[in-house]
């Protein structure tokens, strides 16, 4: 694609365990990153829990994917926004998360959503 990059947003709203949405969502983000588009990731509600540090999935008997978030930086995916209210409700701060994020008000996130060419919910 030689045209100007399109704005593509991924909205993570599912918890990291209990369903596969965050995991397969992240897989899709990494594929999309190879297309050199303008990518934004937003974490809302339980979606924020997918970024929590020090998760141990051994007892769950499933492959953890938390470390994969760190590879986003290699792909120059740098716009990671978390919803302020969702984060506060869960007693989390950016220090609890495995990658650097920007905390934003719902209104600001809503404004960024309006600029997108496509939004994928996961």
């Amino acid at each position: 694609m030689s045209e100007a990059p399109e704005k593509i947003m991924f909205v993570f709203k599912n918890p990291p365990h209990g369903n596969i949405h965050a995991y397969e969502g992240l897989e899709f983000v990494l594929i999309t990153a190879a297309y050199e588009q303008d990518i934004t990731l937003v974490f809302i509600g339980d979606g924020i829990l997918a970024l929590k540090k020090d998760q141990d999935t051994q007892e769950l008997g499933i492959k953890g994917f938390m470390k994969t978030w760190r590879t986003l930086d290699d792909y120059e995916v740098e716009k990671l926004y978390v919803d302020k209210k969702s984060m506060e409700e869960r007693g989390l701060t950016p220090d609890d998360l495995i990658v650097p994020v920007e905390v934003k008000e719902a209104n600001d996130i809503s404004g960024i959503m309006k600029e997108q060419h496509v939004i994928y919910p996961f």
Binding site: M1, E3, E6, I8, K13, N14, I20, H21, E24, E27, F28, I31, T32, A34, Y35, Q37, H117, V118, I119, Y120, P121
Partner: protein, 128 residues
């Protein structure tokens, strides 16, 4: 007699389906949306199945005869020239391969979803 002026905007839609058939309404809602859009003269460039959505592609579905056959719906749309794409990564996890694939569908990579979204005026997602 005044002349009526009709402004017809033809949209190019891409469709993403993320849930399995029967278990979830996504496949039915997507089908209804697609048939309505085609009736209105819009274009549907492709339908991409991801997550449990890939289960929509098995040719082994045998719903009760008085119920809709969701797999056949996709094969029929594929027969009309709509690109029906099944995500290979999600398919492999769930035992979907070329041997079980219904007619007029193909298995391919997530890059095809990126392409579809870039070619479409709107990408509509069914399933959360």
């Amino acid at each position: 007699m005044g002349r009526n002026l009709f402004l017809v905007i033809i949209m190019k839609y891409g469709i993403l389906i993320k849930e399995s058939p029967y278990n979830h309404q996504a496949s039915d809602s997507a089908y209804n949306f697609i048939t309505a859009a085609l009736e209105k003269g819009h274009e549907v460039l492709g339908i991409f199945f991801y997550n449990d959505g890939v289960i929509n592609s098995t040719k082994h579905m045998e719903p009760p005869q008085d119920d809709r056959h969701i797999g056949n719906r996709w094969s029929e749309l594929g027969g009309k020239g709509i690109d029906i794409i099944i995500c290979i990564a999600a398919a492999k996890r769930r035992g979907i391969n070329d041997e079980v694939l219904g007619a007029n569908m193909r298995i391919s990579g997530l890059g095809q979803l990126v392409d579809l979204s870039l070619k479409s005026d709107r990408l509509i997602t069914f399933g959360s």
